[in-house]
Symmetry: C2
Subunit: 341 residues, 2 copies
C-alpha cells in the first residue's frame, strides 16, 4: 500500500466510525447517585433487542412471544411478593385482568385504576402486560383493571385506542368518573393520553387523575432527547431500533402525528390532573417534558418527576429498588389526592 491507499483506508474507517456513532451505545462512570438495587440495570449493557428488526408478521409474532414468555415466568413470584390476585376478565368485549390486593386501603374501597401496559404497541400481550398493574395494586393497595388491548401485526391502529375507549366506557357503568384513575408507562402512557382525547371527543366524563410514566407522546422522531439521549438510554437506545419499526407497524400508514397516535399534537384542554415521570437518561425525556409543558400551557394541573440516572421505564424493573417504590408511591399519593372516596 502506498500513502494514497492508506489515506483512503483511513477515510473509509472514519466515515464508518462516524456512521456507527449514530447508533453507538455510550458508556459512563458508575453513578453514585442511584440505588444499589437498580445500579446493575443502570450500568449494564443494553440487551441486543433494541436493534432487532423483525420483517414479516410472523417474525414480529415470534419476536413478541419470545419476550412474553420470559415476562410471564416472572409473574407468579411478583404476584406473591405484592400479595395480589389476578383474574382474567372481559369488559364490553375487551380482554383484561382484574388485579386485587390482599388488603385494600379503606379510602380505596370504592375506587379503581385502569391500566394500559407498555411495549411499543407490539410487546406484552395477555398476562405479560400485567406487571406494572400488579405493582400498582400492591404498593397502592387498590384494585387495578389492566387492559389487554389488541395489537399489530393483526390489529394495527386504531384497535388499541378503540379497545381503550370500550373498556373505559364499560368501567364507567360500574364506577363514577371521579373515583377512576388511569395510568400506564411508555405506550401505556401514550394510550392513557390518547384515551383522554377520545373520551373528550365522545363527551365521556374524564377520570379524576392520570399518571403517565415516560409516555410515548410523539411516534414520529420529533423531540430533542430522541437525538441527545440516543446511545445514552440503555433500554431503548435509539428510535432507529425496533421502536421506530413498531411505530410504523402500529400506525399502518396513518400520519404518525395523528393526535390519537401522538397525543402531543392533540388538544389537552380540560385534561384531568396528570403526573408524569421520566429519567435523566430517558430517550423519552422530551416526550415527557413536552407533554408536561403543553398541559401546563392548557391550565391543567401537571406534575413532573425525573428520576436520577434512569433510562426508559427502568423504575418498573426492580420491585425492591427505591426508584420503583418512588414511582408507585408517588403515583398512589397522587391518585389518593385527586380521586373521590
Amino acid at each position: 500500500m502506498n500513502i494514497r491507499q492508506y489515506m483512503i483506508v483511513l477515510l473509509i474507517f472514519f466515515s464508518l466510525s462516524t456512521h456507527a456513532q449514530n447508533t453507538q451505545v455510550r458508556h459512563f462512570p458508575t453513578p453514585e447517585t442511584v440505588s444499589t438495587q437498580i445500579l446493575p440495570l443502570v450500568s449494564g449493557e443494553p440487551a441486543s433487542i433494541w436493534n432487532d428488526h423483525p420483517k414479516t408478521n410472523q417474525e414480529w409474532k415470534n419476536w413478541v412471544n419470545q419476550f412474553a414468555q420470559h415476562s410471564i415466568q416472572q409473574l407468579p413470584a411478583l404476584r406473591k411478593q405484592m400479595q395480589v390476585t389476578v383474574e382474567p376478565v372481559q369488559f364490553g368485549g375487551i380482554n383484561g385482568f382484574i388485579i386485587t390486593p390482599k388488603q385494600t386501603r379503606s379510602e380505596n374501597k370504592n375506587r379503581v385504576l385502569l391500566h394500559f401496559h407498555g411495549g411499543g404497541y407490539v410487546l406484552n400481550p395477555g398476562e405479560a402486560g400485567t406487571d406494572e398493574a400488579i405493582l400498582m395494586a400492591g404498593f397502592g393497595q387498590i384494585k387495578v383493571i389492566s387492559i389487554d388491548y389488541r395489537m399489530p401485526p393483526d390489529f394495527p391502529f386504531p384497535a388499541a385506542i378503540d379497545d381503550a375507549v370500550a373498556a373505559y366506557r364499560e368501567i364507567l357503568k360500574h364506577y363514577p368518573a371521579n373515583k377512576i384513575g388511569v395510568f400506564g408507562t411508555s405506550t401505556g402512557g401514550g394510550i392513557t393520553l390518547a384515551l383522554m382525547l377520545k373520551a373528550k371527543a365522545e363527551s365521556l366524563p374524564l377520570p379524576a387523575a392520570i399518571v403517565v410514566g415516560t409516555p410515548w407522546t410523539d411516534l414520529s422522531k420529533t423531540g430533542d432527547s430522541y437525538f441527545t439521549h440516543e446511545g445514552i438510554d440503555n433500554v431503548l437506545v435509539s428510535y432507529d431500533g425496533w421502536l421506530g419499526d413498531a411505530a410504523k407497524l402500529y400506525a399502518n400508514g396513518e400520519d404518525l402525528k395523528d393526535p390519537l397516535l401522538s397525543p402531543i399534537y392533540g388538544d389537552v384542554t380540560d385534561f384531568p390532573p396528570t403526573l408524569l415521570f421520566s429519567g435523566t437518561r430517558d430517550l423519552f425525556l422530551s416526550n415527557t417534558v413536552r407533554m408536561h409543558l403543553k398541559l401546563r400551557d392548557a391550565g391543567v394541573t401537571a406534575d413532573l418527576i425525573v428520576l436520577e440516572g434512569l433510562s426508559h421505564a427502568q423504575y418498573l424493573m426492580v420491585p425492591d429498588a427505591p426508584e420503583t417504590k418512588r414511582y408507585f408511591n408517588e403515583s398512589s399519593r397522587f391518585f389518593n389526592h385527586y380521586l373521590a372516596q
Copy 2:
C-alpha cells in the same frame, strides 16, 4: 513509512480522538421543538469560554471583568424593555440593587423577592449580576432585591453565604417572612438553598417560597448528568472546564460536599415550597432532579419544570423567547400562590 509505522500513526490518532471525546462538543439535528427565538442559542456552538482555565488571581479577575463589561452593556436596553428602575443599595453592610417595576401588581405591593445571581461563584460582580432580577421584576411586576455577594479570588467561601444571610436578616427587619420569596439560577439557586440551611441553623423564619433554576446543588463532580450531558450542554459543556476550577477556587480547600457548598448534602426538612427548573440538555439536570427528589422525600412541596431542548440557564438569555417567559411567568405564579399579600 511502512505498514508498521502507519499502524502506529493510526493508533495514536485513535487514542487522541478517544481522549478528545471526553470533552468534545456533540452536535444534533436542529430541534423543531424549541422556539425560533431561542433556536440560535440551542443550535449554536458553545462559546470557547467553557474551557478557559485562569491560573492566577489576576487572571481570574481579568477573565471575570471581560464578561462583566459585556453583560453591563446589555443592561440599559433590558431595563428599558422590562420597564424597571435599578438603584444600588446597602443591606446591613452588603451591596445590592433594588429593582422596582414601573407598575407593581396590587397583590405584590407588600411583597419582595430576594435574588442571588449565577456565575459559578466567580462571574457577574456588581451590576452585571442584575439581569435575572430585572426580568423577574418586569415579568412579575414585583420589587426585587438583588444581592451583590462577595466572590473569590478575594473572598472565597463562606463569604457569599455569609452575605446572603446578612442580607436576608436585614430584609426580615422590613418584611415578614411570609411576604418574602427568594430565587436564583445556577450558583444563585445554590446560594438560595444554602441560605435555607443557614437560616434554619440560625433559627430565622424561612421565606414563603423559593425558586431555583438549574441550581448548583453539588460542587463535586457527582450526579449523572455531569457525565451523560457532557458535550451536549452547549453553555457549560463540561465540569472539567472553568466550572470545576471555580468550584475549587470558591471552596478554598473546604470539602466540596460541605452542605453550605453543596446543599444536596444538607437537611432540607421544613424548606419552603420550592419550584425547580432545568432543561433536557442541561449539565445540571441531575443537580436539579436530585434536589427535587430530596425535597419530596423530606415532605417539602417541590415542583419541577424541565424545558425542552435547553442547556444550562438558556432561559435567561433571550428576553422575548417563550422559554424565558415560561421561566418568569411560572415563577411569578408560584410566588403569587405562596406569598402572603
